[in-house]
């Protein structure tokens, strides 16, 4: 295993260990105690296993999990940023359908292998986005009667 996955394993298992010990600490210190009996039970096992995993990662004995390569991270990052902006901000601020149309189009543009210099590929992306939005509106607004947040736009 190269150093990159090893360091990644240390960070990932470190985060899990921190969550595990925090959960255990909260479970054993919060009141009323009766409400935390079951969380105490599971958080003890959680913390022990998490620390065990962290120790294995530090000692370089982690066997499973390939980590994330630099190229995968580079490819994923734009999509992940768009996803986060779409879900955590735009959907509520702009309205579900507007935000979905924008996010869909941006993601298509980012990951569609068709060349950006061809006008045809832009038209294709616009048409796919429009078709998808029509299906989503038909399904959720008309068929399932889901009232989505409208906010600034629709």
């Amino acid at each position: 295993m190269t150093d990159l996955p090893r360091n990644q394993h240390i960070i990932a298992s470190g985060v899990i260990a921190a969550i595990g010990t925090s959960v255990a600490y909260i479970s054993f210190t919060q009141e009323p105690a009766d409400a935390f009996i079951f969380p105490r039970l599971i958080s003890s096992v959680f913390a022990v296993l998490a620390i065990w995993t962290f120790a294995k990662a530090v000692l370089g004995r982690t066997k499973v999990g390939n980590g994330i390569s630099v190229s995968a991270l580079r490819n994923m990052l734009p999509g992940l940023v768009v996803t986060c902006l779409y879900v955590f901000w735009a959907a509520k601020a702009l309205g579900f359908y507007t935000a979905t149309a924008i996010a869909f189009f941006i993601l298509l543009t980012l990951y569609d292998p068709a060349p950006h210099t061809h006008a045809q590929s832009w038209v294709k992306r616009l048409l796919i986005t429009a078709a998808f939005m029509a299906v989503m509106y038909g399904l959720f607004a008309q068929l399932l009667n889901v009232f989505t947040p409208h906010e600034i736009f629709f």
Partner: protein
């Protein structure tokens, strides 16, 4: 023979229409690489809100059955398994297609899937009432141990690492405790207003199964899919029947292997297909032909992964312990309709339970008929560009999770859990035990608290939870599953290098 009494309900216009819709949709979704059966069923759940419980379950059951079989289309024509369950099908199926026997491979694959699937559902029909009757004797301590058993078995068998599998289960159990305590009304772990009402299972399921797939598609960047669909020549169906009859040993091995593996909680179709393929090769008189485009390989793998579907629902419907990740998603679908599976399901909701099971039986036959006709179309759909597929799944995940309670909190939970799960998966953690923990957590806690109250008033907690043959049987199974997995891990370590383990894991992911 109670199931025959409700058979007519499957053929009511709405129910049958949903069955056909679920079957055709499932075949197409199953053929699409990257869309696993579990994810397909999770994304479909929001569409069942407006339906009657039995109608919703018919749709989900049909999708579950046909996505597993549909995965064979891309395995055979594209050399990309539509789902992990179809890995073994790729070994001989694609070779057959390259030799000009694509139609024959598809035909024997769907026929074997249907025969295996029908046998699996018959097992479900005849085993479920017996087990349900037996499960009526279960008290709180037994149900507590059963819930723990569900998490540990799937945690140890579904993951590459026992510790990480169990840790995933613990994370799920912890997530299930977030929100208000049922008895004292105390706040627990509410670190954000989005989780003040606890974590809703459906958005969590959508996030855990859909978002990691979306991000995985992102990681491939702007590369173009190079897989070409192999065109198929016409092949008379009667020859496929003759082929199946000639290869009945492979069919029997696949069907029995799949059925047995399906009954074991946590062991999925992926393992069923591979084990059946391996066993079939050992018992075959033409074992040297395996891997070169031999129909026995396709028959064994496909009959096994569909025979697994019915039995995997036995523990769910009788003990409310899902036997597979997809069964866990189906449990979520049952819970949103206010139906809690368990020993009394067949007494309280016989129409829902039997119509659902009957629809799975009919669905196997429909899956075979439609599969043979739309395989070509499904293979074309499987070529939908990754960018389009990722964007569609993301949009459906957002709308689907919001529609559960019309809450943005659910959307945030879906996205947070989904993104976190992607990173966890890259470090060897698995979604299945986490989901099981999340679903079984409330069952385990309720029975633990109830059992503790009874024990405190009577014989004491230690005696109540650790005595009695049934408690001990369950504890022994929990211990055995963990022990077996550790032993297997040690054995693997002895014979497998790190590089081999990484390569194997990469191939399966």
């Amino acid at each position: 023979m109670e199931f025959l009494f409700y058979m007519g309900d499957v053929f009511s216009p709405v129910n049958f229409g949903l069955l056909v819709l679920g079957t055709v949709g499932g075949l197409i979704l199953g053929a699409t690489p990257g869309l696993s059966p579990t994810m397909a069923v999770a994304l479909l759940i929001p569409f069942t809100f407006q339906l009657e419980p039995q109608q919703g379950l018919i749709l989900l059951g049909a999708a579950y059955t046909s996505t597993v079989a549909g995965g064979a289309v891309s395995a055979i024509l594209l050399k990309i398994p539509g789902a992990p369950a179809n890995i073994a099908t790729t070994l001989d199926g694609h070779k057959m297609a390259t030799k000009g026997e694509g139609a024959k491979a598809l035909q024997v694959s769907f026929l074997a899937s249907a025969i295996g699937g029908v046998f699996g559902v018959l097992l479900l029909i005849f085993l479920t009432p017996v087990l349900a009757q037996w499960a009526l004797a279960f008290g709180p301590s037994h149900l507590f141990w059963l819930a723990i058993l569900g998490v540990t078995v799937i945690g140890t068998l579904d993951s590459s690492s026992v510790v990480k599998g169990l840790l995933s289960g613990c994370i799920g159990l912890w997530l299930a405790t977030i929100g208000f305590d049922d008895i004292m009304g105390a706040q627990r772990f509410i670190f954000h207003p989005a989780v003040s009402g606890g974590i809703n299972v459906i958005p969590a399921l959508i996030g855990l199964f859909a978002i990691p797939q979306v991000i995985t598609m992102f990681t491939k960047g702007r590369t173009k899919d190079t897989a070409e669909v192999i065109t198929v020549k016409k092949h008379p169906i009667r020859f496929a029947f003759i082929e199946i009859f000639k290869r009945k040993t492979a069919l029997v091995i696949g069907t029995l292997t799949g059925s047995i593996i399906g009954l074991i909680p946590g062991v999925g179709g992926q393992i069923a297909g591979l084990v059946a393929y391996d066993q079939s090769r050992k018992f075959s008189r033409e074992s040297e032909k395996f891997g070169t485009g031999h129909s026995e390989g396709v028959i064994a793998a496909e009959s096994a992964n569909n025979a697994m579907v019915g039995p995997s629902l036995v523990p769910l419907l009788t003990l409310s312990i899902p036997g597979s990740p997809t069964a866990a998603v189906l449990l979520g679908g049952l819970l949103i309709h206010g139906i809690f599976p368990g020993p009394d399901l067949f007494m309280n909701y016989p129409q829902v339970a039997w119509t659902f099971i009957d629809s799975m039986l009919i669905g196997q036959i429909l899956m075979c008929i439609f599969g043979l006709y739309i395989a070509g179309l499904a293979a074309r759909v499987a070529q939908v560009p990754r960018a389009v597929m990722a964007s569609i799944v993301l949009g459906l995940a957002l709308f689907g999770s919001y529609s559960v309670q019309h809450s943005m909190g659910d959307v945030y939970v879906m996205a947070t859990l989904g993104i976190a799960m992607y990173f966890l998966e890259r470090f060897g953690f698995s979604a299945a035990p986490l989901v099981l923990g999340l679903i079984l957590g409330p069952i385990a806690e309720a029975n633990f608290i109830q059992g503790s109250m009874i024990a405190t008033a009577t014989i004491g907690v230690g005696v109540y939870f650790f005595t009695g043959w049934l408690n001990w049987l369950l504890i022994c199974i929990v211990t055995a599953s963990i022990g077996y997995s550790i032993w297997m891990e040690v054995m693997m370590r002895r014979y497998t290098t790190k590089d081999e383990a990484i390569a194997k894991e990469e191939a399966l992911s």
